[in-house]
Amino acid sequence: MTSEGLSAVKSGPSRRRLPLALLLMSFRTFIALIVVFVFFGVTTPNFLDVPTLVIVAKHVAVNAILAIGMTFVILTAGIDLSVGSIVGISGMVAGTLLTRGVPLNVFDVTIFPNVIETIGICLAVGSGIGLINGLLITRLNVAPFIATLGTLYIARGAALLISDGATFSNLVGDPKLGNGGFPFLGSGTLLGIPVSIVSLAIFAAVAAYVAGRTPFGRHVYAVGGNERAAALSGVRVNRIKVCTYMISGFCAAFAGLVIASELVAAHPASGETFELNAIAAAVLGGTSLSGGRGTIAGTLIGAFVIGVLSDGLVMLGVSSFWQMVIKGIVIIAAVVLDQMQRRMYRRFSLEAQLG
């Protein structure tokens, strides 16, 4: 075979010729989602009723919002372990603002921000922790795993310090102080749909738009795919990375607010190990931990697979110990399939090249 002969047939693989097996593999998470739905639909009475599905979706919403933020970070080949702690501290900040306000000792008054301001402050705290993560990673060259492990502990400790470990309960506000309405986020409805599910839809839509249709999104993929090439193409790699950690922190803070609002209480231990669920959802949805590969839609499906699986198993009466085992198996199987698919695709495109 001459080199000219080779280059002549070297057009890329065409969509039409994708073998069926490969096609099935590329939709594996979606297929998995359908499988769990069908399985629990058959085995569990009432599982496919609307009220049940709404409850499942509300459970999924928190993890899915976390996983959406996490996806941006993982796309840059990073990791954010601090999101669970941000969930906790975000709720605690909301709790202290709503119940204790901001005491200004100099003037001997206490300011109670209204709910919108409270939410804004909590989101700022989450983004701020993300900013710290990002700066540690880009300016001080701390590995993402270590930097966010550190902030995991710091934020959790800070959440405990806020109330000395106590829970803020009854976060309904006081009409006299003008800070009522907080429970709306967790238990209110818009057009009959729970607010948390509406929020998830908005987060997912905005994130999918940002990832898929903006220069920022493209830069995120480029940084994760090949940082050096991205930098040489004029991508401000550090700025992109810092932004992704801020997005992740923002999402985590919002998730924390949803939880606090649902419970009408803020507990400092809230959100423990949530970071692992978020990573699992992203990975299950096809996001590669080595960066550059993954979609928001995939993460969303991944979060639903995990959520449906765990709620379904509860309804089936499977013990929580077995649930953990099953969840672990599903995550590993997802990654094994992912690797298999990539190998198949590589072999396929190589064969297509050789004609």
């Binding site: 280059s7 220069p215 493209r218 090949n226 004029g234 991508v235 090249q353």
Partner: protein, 515 residues
């Protein structure tokens, strides 16, 4: 010319009809290669000729697609480098393969450390063995020093010692002198003669032809993945080697530059200091005019890539003035340099050029996304149509812009990287070894596009270590050696010998200083 097969040296290792196909490129085709005991078997060829591929096959690092290997007359298949090493084949790579966090003795004993009763490492004996090896190399480096603390030349010596630590029958040396000072080269040659006397077969790869004339016994020339010629070194001259390496087929001279414009790029006194003393880029001044193609010729390690990196802002320690269109860019960020019309097509496209996870379209537009953005949104229809235009203009062979870039051949990938840089609307393009790992057809197309661009008023600098490219495609040739500009030729006064001499000029000057 065929090899003199007068067999006063027994053939220990033989490659028969060996070929290797990588996704996208044929690296090696039907190559025969004999390795003789007690002799220095030289392998030469230009970059991309297939030397490293052949060497990796012989060392067991990769498996050949076709053909077979015979070791001591018996067919062998090496499972791994370790497997080859067990059968007496050692290799010294061009890039150092030492663990900088370990001591010299630990590095030397890495594979097979001396142990006490097979359990723990016998440190004293390990240091003893290391000392003995280094003494044999006349380089009494303290075996307890960390490799990280050694000079590059010393590290190279350790690398050689590591290969000698195992008893080898065949020792492959890939450009072993590229990091050595002339005194260290003398020691290496002494070691090589010593090994020859012990009936070891040495495979020696180098670009420095005068070295080959001194140390080589048999020479094999590779070109474009095929065996071009072989001979006894004593029968041939440097000119003969160059002729076989470069060949005379295929590449026609490209049209000459039209009217040149003003200086598009001016470099004044640009230097990049080396941590271990000296310079990667040694007070370089040059200017390139709009519409001109300048070739930067030099051997590996001449400082060409480093010069390009300084220009692009990848080397923060660089000092000097870099003017593009009259504006000093020293100290500005990469995006700012791109905005001012400077762009680099890097040497290693896998490492620095492509985002492997993205499609051809996304790679093409990566450096110029700003142009496709309205408010926050990417305009995907203009992005698609412009990338399609670029695919046509660069004659990239791909069925759709949405195909992942890794599915393309080397030449087409290179065209994507060049296309990406063109989409930024540059006035100066730097191309570092643009033809590396690119097949012949794509090579010609890349240079044709470069001429079109220069005709359109762009200033182009490309670097190469390929004489034919330098002589065939440039309006002006600048030769670098050890970070310095050692010669400059207008196209009509450049000769192969002139370029080769200038490319080693700084080494010879250094040698004279030492002796």
């Amino acid at each position: 010319m065929s090899a003199s097969t007068s067999a006063d040296n027994e053939i220990i290792l033989k490659a028969e009809g060996v070929g290797k196909i990588f996704p996208g490129t044929v690296a090696l085709q039907d190559v025969d290669f004999e390795v003789r005991r007690g002799a220095v078997n030289v392998l030469v060829g230009e970059n991309g000729a297939g030397k490293s591929t052949l060497m990796k096959i012989l060392a067991g690092a990769i498996e050949p697609t076709t053909g077979r290997l015979l070791l001591r007359g018996e067919p062998v298949v090496f499972q791994s480098v370790r497997d080859a090493a067990r059968q007496g084949i050692g290799i010294i790579y061009q890039e150092l393969n030492l663990c900088p966090n370990l001591s010299v003795a630990e590095n030397l004993g890495l594979i097979d450390p001396p142990t006490r009763f097979g359990f723990d490492i016998d440190r004293a004996r390990q240091v003893e063995k290391a000392k003995a090896l280094l003494t044999r190399l006349e380089h009494p480096i303290d075996p307890n020093r960390l490799v990280d603390d050694l000079r590059i030349g010393q590290q190279q010596i350790v690398e050689i010692a590591k290969a000698l630590a195992a008893d080898v029958d065949v020792l492959i040396m890939d450009e072993p002198t590229s990091a050595l000072s002339s005194a260290e080269v003398e020691i290496l040659f002494k070691v090589i003669r010593d090994l020859k006397a012990h009936n070891v077969a040495i495979i020696y790869i180098s670009h420095r032809l005068e070295e080959i004339m001194r140390i080589g016994d048999y020479i094999t020339v590779l070109r474009d993945g095929r065996r071009q010629a072989d001979a006894l070194v004593s029968d041939v001259s440097v000119d003969w080697i160059i002729e076989r390496m470069v060949g005379s087929t295929g590449l026609a001279l490209q049209g000459k530059a039209g009217d040149l414009g003003d200086d598009a790029l001016t470099i004044r006194d640009l230097s990049l200091p080396r941590a271990a003393g000296g310079f990667f880029v040694d007070h370089v001044s040059l200017s390139v005019r709009a519409g001109e193609i300048v070739c930067l010729y030099g051997l590996l390690g001449a400082g060409r890539s480093e010069l390009f990196e300084c220009l692009m802002g990848l080397q923060p320690q660089a000092v000097g003035r870099i003017e593009v269109g009259g504006k000093d860019l020293a100290g500005s960020s990469i995006p700012a340099r791109i905005r001012h019309g400077l762009v680099l097509v890097p040497e290693d496209r896998q490492r620095d050029g492509l985002v492997q996870t993205l499609s051809v379209r996304a790679n093409l537009t990566l450096a110029s996304l700003r142009r496709f953005t309205r408010f926050f949104s990417l305009n995907s229809s203009t992005e698609k149509s412009e990338s399609q235009d670029m695919i046509r203009r660069m004659t990239i062979k791909v069925s759709s812009p949405e195909v992942e870039v890794t599915a393309l051949s080397g030449g087409n990938q290179q065209k994507v990287v060049i296309g990406k840089s063109l989409m930024t609307g540059p006035s100066v393009i730097l191309l570092d070894e643009p033809s590396r790992g690119v097949d012949v057809g794509a090579k010609a197309e890349i240079f044709r596009v470069m001429r079109q661009l220069s005709d359109a008023g762009l200033a182009i600098i490309f670097s190469t270590s390929d004489l034919k490219e330098a002589l065939g495609y440039a309006d002006r040739i600048i030769v670098m050696s050890r970070g310095q500009i050692t010669a400059e030729f207008p196209r009509d006064r450049a000769t192969e010998t002139g370029l080769v001499e200038a490319s080693t000029a700084a080494f010879l000057a250094l040698e004279r200083q030492v002796s």
